[in-house]
Amino acid sequence: MADRSDFDGFVAGRSAALLRTAYLLTGDPALAEDLLQTALAKSWFAWGRIAGPPEPYVRRVMATTYATWWRRRWRSEYPTGALPEAPGVDDTAGVDDRDALWRALGTLPRRQRAVVVLRYYEDLSEAETAAALGVSRGTVKSQASKALAALRRDDDLTSTIGGGQ
């Protein structure tokens, strides 16, 4: 069980890593900091009741906050059918590929984006991802499958990196 006296140490030692996850979820450094601090403040009230290492708990709070409450505050990014910028194909294709994929990631529904971040950045298993998001393992599988399918179908990605596979 976590001790509240460890909270400051946890913030100092682990919050930078959590910030990176928050950034991948939100796509914006300021929003990522806001999300992370919100999750940390929420976790503080439950700190004495957390069983085991606190990081998975904080990550879960962050992920669920992003997937639910966060949508009420996050007005700077909306999923759209057409990406705002359509990069062309030239000798900087490698950089454009990354940008296109990043933008395509921003078009995913929040839960799908969270699944992608947790599965492919945090390298969590399906079960761990399900636990982090408070959903079933089957939901994680289906959401990941839909996310990847959407990214493959994206016209810009198809034109730049061939749709994957």
Partner: protein, 317 residues
């Protein structure tokens, strides 16, 4: 594969986000603000709950009226003794826990003119007071008084008499709590609130007065002559005795052959205008006692209550 592209992209982008050295301070500030909101929210919630409770407990009481002569609660003092102005406690029983009934009075010999049943309970409910072989009365213990509830039920002279009416071995009166928690039940008798006005009618001197013979007396009377009925009129009453008295007085009238009648005095009763009550003796009753108009007969008057002498009996008419 797109999964590999994703891993590479996410790692690359994540590494580029700058850290915030002031995060610990900012998080502490958020925690403090959240704590203030929680306290304020809890206080607001508490206020709403209290307001709701006040409404719930006040609204139903608004239309409830109190028995005549009974002031607003509380009807119990700090140690749980019944105290109602103008009334004297005759029986208190406490530490009842429902739902079973409890015997509160056995073999009681007193007679009361007007009774109050007061109840004090921890939770609202309807208690019952009943006589084993007689009537049953309810007391609604739902008026909030501080940390508990109270209730009152008034019994008119007829109900009080029915509750305490003498029977073989005396009455057994049971009380049934109406909710969980401790109950206190009190029986109070209305005090004789006033003295009789001075007698001023020189033409009708009293036959007997309590101020002279508090417990009663025996006087000789003459059964009045029968009145001739008018055309179409039927007269069933052969004799009447008028009694002037204050609340709580009860007089019994007997002749050597039996009981002539009982006068129960309750000025709050509509049947007692001007503080007077009439005891009517029917022709059949008179005949059953072997009396006829013009007979001279000793009439014994007995007062059941001895705590007042405020009664007068006038000659029969």
């Amino acid at each position: 594969m797109i999964e590999d592209e994703l891993r590479s992209l996410l790692t690359e982008r994540a590494a580029a986000v700058p850290d915030n050295p002031a995060r610990a301070v900012e998080v502490r500030s958020r925690i403090a603000a959240a704590r203030r909101r929680r306290v304020a929210g809890a206080a607001l919630g508490l206020v709403l709950v209290v307001l709701a409770g006040v409404l719930v407990t006040r609204l139903p009481s608004a239309n409830e009226s109190l028995p005549p002569g009974v002031p607003a609660p509380p009807w119990f003092d700090d140690v749980g003794r019944p105290t109602v102005p103008g009334h004297t406690s005759v029986r208190t029983a406490r530490d009842f826990v429902g739902p079973q009934e409890h015997l509160v009075i056995a073999g009681w010999g007193a007679v009361y003119s007007r009774l109050l049943i007061v109840a004090r309970c921890q939770r609202p409910g309807t208690g019952t007071v009943r006589r084993t072989d007689g009537p049953r009365f309810e007391v609604d213990c739902s008026r909030r008084v501080g940390d508990h509830f109270e209730g009152v039920t008034a019994l008119d002279p007829g109900q009080a008499a029915a509750l305490f009416e003498a029977s073989r071995g005396g009455p057994e009166i049971w009380f049934g709590p109406g909710s969980a928690g401790d109950w206190v039940i009190g029986l109070l008798s209305a005090d004789a609130p006033e003295s009789l006005p001075p007698h001023t009618d020189r033409g009708s001197a009293p036959l007997a007065e309590g101020t002279r013979t508090r417990a009663g007396t025996t006087v000789e009377i003459t059964v009045p002559p029968a009145r001739v009925p008018e055309a179409g009129e039927r007269i069933d009453i052969a004799m009447g005795l008028v009694v002037e008295c204050v609340a709580g007085v009860q007089l019994t009238f007997t002749v050597p052959t039996g009981v002539l009648g009982i006068a129960t005095c309750d000025p709050l009763d509509r049947a007692m205008p001007d503080g007077k009550v009439a005891v009517s003796v029917t022709k059949d009753r008179l005949a059953a006692l072997g009396l006829r108009p013009g007979d001279r007969v000793p009439l014994t008057i007995r007062s059941v209550r001895l705590d007042t002498d405020q009664w007068r009996v006038y000659p029969p008419t």
